[in-house]
Amino acid sequence: MSLQKSAFHGSGSDHTADQPIKPARHPWRWVAIAFVALLAVMFVHTLMTNPRFEWPIVAKYFTSGTILLGVRRTLELTAIAMLSGVGLGVLLAVMRLSPNPVLSSASWLFVWFFRGSPLLVQLLLWYNLSALFPDISLGIPFIGPDFVKIDANVLITPYLAALLGLGLNEAAYSAEIIRAGIISIDHGQTEAAQSIGMSRGRLLRRVVLPQAMRVIIPPLGNDTINMLKMSALVSIIAVPELLFAAQTIYSRTFETIPLLLVAVIWYLIVVSVLSVIQYYIERHYARGSSRSLPLTPLQGLRKLLGFGPRGRPALPDEKRSAA
């Protein structure tokens, strides 16, 4: 009896059970913090003291008309290319999963070509399409008359060439992302939906895709951010997007670094906004995926500061740490 008791208490002290329990110490964390802080200070110092950054010039052009028009054009290109790319991507993914071998191979071939060749080359090809097809016409193939006939040089503007290049490339990538999302859903979901008489289309729309979104959104968000930056490539075919706008100004004024900084800052701002949007879209599709939704950053900050999220009483461990 006494042996058991002392073995249970370990040290033999009668007060052990009442002593407070403290977390482990981490001295190296403080060293790492000091090191990173030093690097950060050095970085901010050079930003502020190196005159060649020419911040006044950055400020001067940051909201200039040309640059703002470039930002708008970049956003437009990204949005249209992503929307059409993802739309086509859904179609390609469904085709790829179709039992029909012709549809599935056609989808595979599309992805093979547009994922397999460099985007820059694709853009140049679209831009120079008129060299391959001087006229583009709509009519009955091989035999019939043409209903519409357009000069390719008129139809394929640099802007349309950019959209075709970016959009079709995105379609190939998003097709694979969406396919991965669709096949990640348990087959039991399909059977349950079929058992209540759902059609294929509704099954995809109401049951499979909403669940697949959890898998689809993170890589698609990645693609959107990538697309925003890849859209700078179309400056090569003279589409006046953000980089092209910056280039037109510095080719005149030779203030190269400040204008590239203007472009970089704008890209970063837009990417930051996109990341926040992505976070909330992910949160939306997390419905029902865990027992409770994760906190939003705002709620997390409040919890960190010890207030606890609104509308929920603090958990026992929060109370203890606050005391």
Partner: protein
């Protein structure tokens, strides 16, 4: 029991005649003849691999059959009669038939991104195009009937297995089906949750619902079933009143099975 494949008699809800099916070279159903009358509760017993779940899944055409015919309420399921052969229906036609055949799965298969209520109303509103307010009211009633009026707005992952299965039963009921197929509805449940689901099924049976239940719950079969069918190796080897088949099995396979599950 002989079954007329054509011209089903009134009062017959499900009629299978000569149903055969193979997966590759393995024949899992070797000619099933079975009749289930309106309001009847039939329990299908048998070892794993005896073909009972496959047969159940043929009744709402989740599985294709190779030979034979299955009729529900007189209507041929999944196929159309042509002169001398059967042609598989288009998906939309099969979907229309499935509206009348409820199904409850072993792993519940609730839609995890929808609340209990949304799971229940999805079919009547989205598929049958019924009036939303009426359906929501009816769904509340059904969820109350299965003992889940408190959990209307809970997501499936916030519910226990037994609660999820009861939502799944409610989802099937909301379609106002002619019969409900249960595919081992309690096999994935913790033992202490089984009785909640069985109680709901017993209540359904008493209300006159036609039910075909694949189960290992011999106690439930004995108490609730009007008829017990025992399957082995893709064939029906014995059927009759539960007291006879379970209490006094004549076929050696039935005896072997019961001695295992009734320990």
């Amino acid at each position: 029991m002989t079954v007329q494949a054509e011209d089903p008699a009134p009062g017959i809800m499900m009629q299978a005649a000569g149903v055969r099916k193979s997966f590759g070279t393995l024949e899992v159903l070797k000619g099933i003849d079975l009749v289930v009358r309106q309001g009847e509760v039939m329990c299908l017993l048998g070892q794993s691999g005896s073909g009972k779940s496959t047969f159940l899944r043929c009744i709402n055409h989740l599985e294709r059959i190779d030979y034979g015919r299955i009729r529900v309420d007189g209507e041929l399921i999944g196929y159309k009669e042509r002169g001398g052969y059967l042609r598989e229906m288009h998906e939309q036609e099969i979907a229309r038939q499935r509206v009348h055949i409820g199904m409850v799965f072993q792993h519940f298969n609730l839609f995890p991104h929808m609340t209990a209520l949304q799971n229940v109303i999805e079919g009547p509103i989205g598929v049958k195009r019924e009036n939303r307010d009426e359906v929501v009211e009816r769904a509340h009633g059904i969820l109350k009937r299965v003992g889940l009026s408190e959990k209307v707005n809970a997501y499936p992952r916030q519910l226990s297995g037994g609660q999820q299965q009861r939502v799944a039963i409610a989802r099937a009921l909301a379609m106002r089906p002619k019969l409900i197929l249960f595919d081992e509805p309690t096999s994935a449940l913790d033992p202490e949750l089984v009785s909640d689901v069985l109680d709901v099924m017993r209540d359904l049976a008493e209300s006159g619902m036609t039910m075909i239940v694949v189960t290992h719950e011999v106690g439930f079969a004995r108490e609730v079933a009007d008829r017990v069918v025992f399957m082995a190796d893709g064939e029906i080897v014995e059927q009759g009143k539960p007291a006879d088949v379970i209490g006094n099995p004549s076929h050696p396979q039935t005896r072997a099975f019961l001695s295992k599950v009734l320990v």
